[in-house]
């Protein structure tokens, strides 16, 4: 039988992580499903587990001049209800999970799971989110995009845990998020798209596009975005074909039980258009 450790404080977490070989479980909404075997018996975890959801000191959302800090054990509901959190992230949470899931699931858990269909990741990529990662003797900061190494693969040492999600404060003029699910709520995405724009003197100062569930990583291409800086409003609105072309080689969806690649690809293009129409 695998062991279960329950941490009540961050120190507990880091000590246990340092001594034991454990998998971290927060809300458990994904981990329990991934590891379940049969009803009526314990979850079939392959390794010992560390439950962190009772760690209250990580349940805070704070800010300073340049960033928002979301504690790792904050529930999605807490994040949804907090006005400090950028609207686009809150919108994505509202669309991605039912109330029951929102009350227990965490953003850090979503990141730790590193599922390419995770809708919150799309917004976090878009917002250049960073992570605070602690071990018993170190604290380090890493960009989310570097932290995620592949499908369900992350850059986390055995004795480390995510403690905070850090979101830089930026005032965008336009943010846009679309989760394209098989129904209107509470379903895994066929794909998702997030876009953001900041203009200065009628010229593009900062423009961002992120696509979920169309490649093994969330697709965000800084080099394409940089090409568009300095373009005026009228011109950028008419550039959809060009921009679609730029992203074409990175949008490589698959056929599965939820949708097919033709649809996913085409809708990505359409959502680029819709985003540009809104400018």
């Amino acid at each position: 039988m695998v062991k279960a450790f329950v941490a009540k404080s961050l120190d507990d977490c880091l000590n246990i992580l340092n001594q034991e070989n454990v998998k971290i479980v927060a809300g458990g909404t994904d981990m329990l499903i991934q590891n379940r075997t049969h009803s009526g018996i314990a979850i079939g975890f392959k390794t010992d587990v560390l439950y962190v959801s009772l760690v209250d000191e990580l349940k805070h959302i704070t800010e300073d001049k340049s960033n928002i800090y979301i504690g790792a054990t904050c529930s999605l509901e807490q994040i949804l209800e907090n006005n400090l959190v950028p609207k686009i992230l809150r919108d994505s949470i509202l669309e991605m999970a039912s109330p029951a899931i929102r009350h227990t699931a965490t953003l850090a858990g979503n990141i730790g799971n590193a599922s390419p269909a995770g809708d919150s990741l799309v917004c976090l990529y878009l917002l250049d989110a960073k992570l605070e990662i602690k071990s018993i003797n170190s604290t380090r900061y890493q960009l989310l995009k570097d932290f995620i190494l592949g499908v369900r693969k992350i850059d986390l040492a055995k004795n480390e845990m995510i403690t905070k999600i850090i979101i830089p404060k930026i005032n965008f003029d336009l943010v846009y998020f679309r989760k394209v699910g098989p129904r209107l709520s509470d379903a895994i995405s066929k794909l998702s798209f997030a876009g953001a724009l900041r203009m200065e003197n009628n010229l593009v100062k900062d423009i961002r596009f992120a696509f979920g569930a169309v490649n093994i990583f969330v697709v965000r291409r800084r080099e394409i975005e940089e090409k568009l800086i300095g373009i005026d409003k009228k011109t950028i609105k008419d550039m959809s074909d060009e921009i679609i072309g730029y992203y074409s080689e990175f949008i490589k969806p698959i056929d599965d039980q939820r949708s097919n690649k033709l649809y996913r690809k085409e809708v990505c293009s359409n959502l680029i258009k819709e985003f540009l129409e809104k400018i």
Binding site: T37, H38, S39, G40, I41, A42, G44, R178, V180, P182, R183, L184, S185, D186, A187, I188, Q257, R258, S259, N260, L262, Y263, E266, V267, N270, L271, K273, E274
Partner: protein, 694 residues
Amino acid sequence: MRDISTSINKVDNDEKTSGKAIYVADIKLDNMLYAFTVRSKIAKGKIIKIDYPELPLGYYIVDYKDIPGKNIVKVIFDDMPIFTEGDITYLYEPIALLIGPDKAVLSKLFAEVKIEYKEEEPVFAWKDSVIHYHFDKGLGKSALEEGKIIEYVYQTGYQEQAYIEPQGFIGYLETDKTTLIGSIQCPYYVKNAVIQALGAKDDEVRVIQAAVGGAFGGKEEFPSLMACQLAVALKKIKQPIQLVYEREEDMLVTTKRHPSRINFKASIKDNKINGLSVHVGIDGGATIGLSGVVLSRALIACTGAYAIDNLDVSGDVYKTNTVPNGAFRGFGAPQMFFAIEMFVEHIAMELGLDPLEFSKSILAKQGDYTSTMGVFRDPVLMPEMIEKALEVSDYNNKKTMFKKQQNLKGVGMSLFFHGCGFTGSGEKNIIKAKVRLKKQFDKVEILIAAVDMGQGVKTTFRKLVAHILEIDIDKVIFNNPDTDFVPDSGPTVASRTMMIVGGLVARATKEVKDRWNEGSFVVEKQYEQPDYIKYDESNFKGDAYPAYSWGVNVVEVEVDRFTYQVKVNKTWAFYDIGKAIDERIVIGQADGGLAQGLAYGYLEVMNHDKGKIMQKNMTDYIIPTAMDMCSMETYLYENPYAYGPYGAKGVGELSLIGGAPAVAKAIENAIGKKVFKIPVTPEYIMELMKNGKD
């Protein structure tokens, strides 16, 4: 006295809202064991060898060798083994039960079962016809030799019942009696199947209905398979056993709605359908079971709500190495009504006529012949219902306006009926329903085998009896059916419960009323077919149904021009169900049926890949949530049927049938392209908008 249609609170509300209602999985018995089902991992072939792990004391394997009676599940067409004897005909075919007291141990043992197979090439193409039907009306095929010929093919996919409570049984032995408590629609189907499996006597098997958490046809014939397996295990082990599926197993192995392909050909003369030729192919899966009866109902509905004089009708059930398909609310009619409603619309478009005007011009009327030369004997209120539909939904105005607009809104209307009760002579020759009322002091107990699976039978039947006797509903008793106490009033299927069983109960109640002062006594009634109903099963000739319920649905949708997602904005529904025994219960059936019908039309995708169902859980098989549903307006019409209690006809299935064609037509109206298959998914809409036919 109040009109019977006036709603009352359902009698089982309190036990259900408080969580006290007992469903199968809620029952625990002393020394109860659990059963897991060992299943094949291939779609076709033979088992060469099975290596079971060494079983600890108290753990058992039960397979075909333990069956005392026949290794066949008694359904309508008996071709499903209880456990395979070595031949594998579909993926996850049951091989054995692994049984024991500790689920954790079972789970470990289960993973250690090793089976060697000799694989064969499975058949997934629809080429192996195991049932073929054909019938003509009027001039038959020869009517298609003249006039303008229009041909189209329509396809429908799987649909999963997706009852929220998965299938389950619990069983135990009372001395010699095998007792099974289950989540079932048909206590006597289960009992008779178990009797045959055990080679038992009639009084050696007892079947009791637990609270049923939704069924929709899914708990019509499939539970008999589980019950037979469990009964065999009980005989061997002689300890209580629970066999309850979890969601994934339920979705992978239980019966679903038959996918279909329907080819239509019409000859048109003077803007009328002169002749119609139709072929219906359905995928039966690995066993035939109820497929022939499903096909019959589809074929008989081939004219839709219209009168067409000359018909050439044929159909095939194809056997494939896939999970067996079976009963699902509507039973062949939803497939056919989707196809014929689209076809009539497409004919009108091709003739340059207004589709609704064209439909109205060929609508069936009282006295017209049905597809099988039966007669629509009762008044047909469709013209009145359509008029009302046009008025309250502003249909004509919207249809024209939406066509012109850029915003991809659309509106669609479907016209349909449902033949109430069993097809053909089933009631008279096979079911022979019997009901019993027991009067004791000032109370009356209803003894029937009808199951309340949410549709409100417990309430409506008590209300019916109380109303006739003019007594308080508390004086009328109705317990969940237990075959040791209730006679066989037939299965809870085919929209027959209120019309047929309720009709019998009403007759029995009238006798109770006449004899009220006699003290305690029992009244029994058996079904007698109305004299005018004559049906020749083998030639599809005569009255296939004693009565018809009718419906009109209007659906308004909006298609997202970037994602092709469909949002249903509003529905309007109009039903002639004879007479509502309780209006609110009927509205509940109307809403719920339409939700399933709409979702069948645009949302619910299920397919298999080499015999494996790809959407095997509620995450991947998408049924509507509250967010997907819209406001629904329902209008009921009274049109009493002489043999139904207070004139009641069938309700349950009717409300599912019109959803798919109405939503498909609304999408056509929105995107300006013809729709030929359901579900009309965003992926399909994208394809249509690029390459579809105007």
